[in-house]
């Protein structure tokens, strides 16, 4: 059961858990600086699943990694990432390390290569537990000294067998059979689906408020994908986590997400409730993508297509980056980039000539 959809009025009442403002990312590459993200604005509310959709090079993975500064020294990140009241980009590395895994967790594509091949699964899960044990809440009535003592005890008790026990419980909960045996296995001995479950278990060790899933099922078979997505949905219900699901597969978004944001060439072009956007997409790119999807419940002779292809970073058109492929482009579109503006039904769109109606 999906939670009730949020109308714009509802949205004003509840505050977003994550608020990204004007996020810009530039990379220092051998050929010079290249801009990868052009001022992203995005919100994620508590308990919702947001789909971040786009094709290769659109910046969806960069957005996620920029949030928790995983892009390495060659990236220049500017803007604000407000998470639960604090700007993550303003934190120093030590504080950010605390946030990672504990408040915001991230899982990646291709689980087999995203796990250390020379450590057992058990060791990697225990590592997550070790670094992300949530702090004990402060009890007002107990003396501070005692609480510190028990926190330390909990921490030290968590080494060795206690931690392994917790790891085993975590793996079982995630749906890995014979968890005790799996703790001794190495990633290359398990299937892609099992490895992805293990990665999810590691991500959950700290009971984070938000999970970023970067194409978690792209490398997996469709029946395994269904299992993993079901797992992710269950986790959202059980733990009330917010989830950012990054994918290129719109069908997955339709079945899993509450809201979605479509990205193209480093910008968000349209964002809103999944129901609304599928029923009545405004942006020509969104329309083109939806129309060109083959479906197993329908059959057409020829699929409508989006002409042309995604421009390379050094070949970006001036004006709207989608304009060369757009069948509704106006003169305006060649001159400047359309700003992201809000619409009546709560969605935002960046287009000078938005369309209406079903695809």
């Amino acid at each position: 059961m999906l939670p009730k959809s949020k109308s714009s009025a509802d949205k004003e009442k509840s505050l977003p858990l994550l608020q990204i403002t004007d996020l810009t990312v530039d990379f220092d590459l051998p050929g010079g600086w290249v801009r990868s993200l052009h001022g992203i604005n995005l919100e994620v509310y508590p308990g919702e699943i947001l789909g971040l959709v786009g094709e290769s090079g659109c910046g969806k993975s960069v957005t996620c990694m920029a949030m928790i500064k995983l892009l390495g020294p060659r990236a220049l990140i500017r803007g604000q990432v407000e998470f639960d009241g604090q700007d993550l980009l303003a934190l120093d590395e030590k504080a950010l390390t605390q946030v990672r895994g504990r408040d915001v967790a991230m899982i990646f594509q291709d689980p087999v290569s995203s796990l250390n091949p020379v450590h057992t699964i058990g060791r990697q899960v225990v590592e997550s537990i070790h670094y992300n044990t949530p702090p004990l809440p402060l009890n007002q009535s107990q003396p501070l000294g005692e609480q510190v003592q028990s926190a330390v005890e909990q921490q030290s008790r968590l080494t060795g067998s206690e931690a392994r026990e917790r790891a085993e419980r975590l793996l079982t909960r995630i749906g890995i059979p014979e968890a005790k045996q799996r703790l001794q296995d190495y990633p290359h001995q398990l299937s892609g689906g099992m490895n992805q479950r293990a990665m999810i278990a590691m991500a959950l060790a700290g009971q984070p408020q938000m999970l970023i899933a970067d194409e978690p099922t792209t490398a997996l078979d469709v029946t395994i994908q269904a299992q993993i997505l079901e797992l992710i949905r269950d986790l959202r219900h059980e733990m009330g986590m917010s989830i950012i699901l990054v994918t290129h597969d719109l069908s997955v978004v339709a079945e899993t997400c509450d809201r979605m944001a479509v990205m193209y060439c480093g910008r968000i072009v349209e964002e809103g409730l999944v129901q609304n956007m599928f029923a009545d997409p405004h942006h020509p790119y969104t329309r083109g993508l939806l129309a060109s999807l083959p479906r197993i419940d329908q059959r057409t002779d020829k699929l409508p297509t989006v002409e042309g292809s995604v421009p390379a970073p050094h070949e970006m058109p001036s004006g709207c980056s989608f304009e060369p492929r757009c069948q509704w482009s106006l003169n305006e579109c060649r001159i400047q980039h359309p700003p992201l503006i809000s619409c009546a039904d709560g969605r935002t769109i960046a287009c000078f000539n938005p369309q209406r109606g079903a695809v």
Partner: protein
């Protein structure tokens, strides 16, 4: 590590050793009449005949081979004609000196080369990185005999602060070790750097960071163990080049080790000693490779699981 893996490698090592022993036998017999080679053509026939009988050189080849294998098993590898004692003893008494030189060189190499490589990788593309790499290129380009002689000219002849021959004191170690370690440390620096760089770009490093593991811990527990795997490969080559470098260096610095002995023995046709030295070098290489194989199995769990397809 599974027993299967260990036993397989041991069996392979034993097989290699047997092949080497046979090979040495063949080469020695093939290189002409040993007796003539030792004494030269103008010695009287009587002496040669005695020598031949002594060494069983007048028997059919397969008998000589069995005879030879038996002797090898018993550690009897002939007599050094220069010295008069068993060749085995002559070589063995020189080993400590060679080992100590190699040992100190190895320590210096690891202590300088590997950290330099790791540091360069962690500070990729900075001035320090570029400087270290330039120095390492220079280091491995200089031939060790050239460097050795240069050092002697500078420190022994011109400034007279270091001894240039022998191995009595600690100061005697300085120049030979510098001579050998310069190239070795350079190689390790470059190799470790590229192994680290490759590992640091892998997805699992990003996963570890995303889990909230601090950078230092990521480097120590995730990057280094994985970077160690390819580095172990060159450990095998390292021992080989220590041996080769050792031979040259020992001769430049008159270091009383096996290398010097070997050169001397070859020049004087002291066959038994040459044979022992060659066998010794071969065994060391086999042992080193065995250790490298074990190290692989210990470091990389993927290697322990057998794979293999055939149609």
């Amino acid at each position: 590590m599974p027993t299967r893996y260990i036993i397989q490698k041991l069996l392979r090592a034993l097989l290699t050793i047997w092949i080497i022993v046979t090979f040495v036998f063949i080469v020695l017999r093939l290189s002409g009449d040993s007796a003539l080679m030792i004494f030269g053509p103008d010695v009287d026939a009587e002496a040669i005949k005695t020598l031949r009988e002594d060494w069983g050189l007048n028997k059919p080849i397969w008998q000589q081979y069995l005879f030879y294998i038996e002797k090898v098993f018993h550690g009897d590898l002939g007599k050094s004609y220069l010295d008069g004692r068993a060749a085995f003893d002559v070589v063995m008494e020189r080993i400590p000196k060679t080992l100590s030189l190699m040992g100190v060189t190895a320590i210096v190499t690891f202590l300088i080369g590997i950290p330099a490589g790791i540091y360069s990788a962690l500070h990729h593309n900075t001035k320090t990185d570029r400087m270290t790499m330039t120095m390492s290129v220079m280091g491995l380009s200089i031939p060790n005999f050239f460097l050795g002689v240069l050092l002697i000219l500078l420190f022994s002849v011109a400034w007279q602060i270091l001894p240039s021959a022998g191995s009595e004191t600690g100061w005697h170690y300085v120049m030979p070790v510098i001579t050998m370690a310069t190239a070795e440390a350079s190689v390790f620096a470059r190799f470790t750097r590229s192994a680290m760089l490759e590992v640091l770009n892998k997805p699992y490093i990003r996963t570890a960071l995303a889990k909230g593991v601090p950078w230092k811990n990521v480097v120590r527990e995730h990057a280094l163990p994985n970077a160690a795997i390819p580095t172990v490969t060159i450990a095998g080559f390292f021992v080989g080049s220590l041996i080769v470098g050792g031979v040259v260096t020992e001769n430049v610095f008159a270091w009383p080790g096996v290398g010097r002995l070997l050169v001397n023995a070859v020049a004087n046709r002291d066959l038994a000693v040459v044979q022992v030295a060659v066998l010794l070098i071969a065994f060391s290489m086999v042992a080193t490779n065995l250790l490298v194989d074990f190290a692989y199995g210990w470091l990389d769990p993927r290697v322990r699981d057998l794979r293999g397809e055939s149609t």
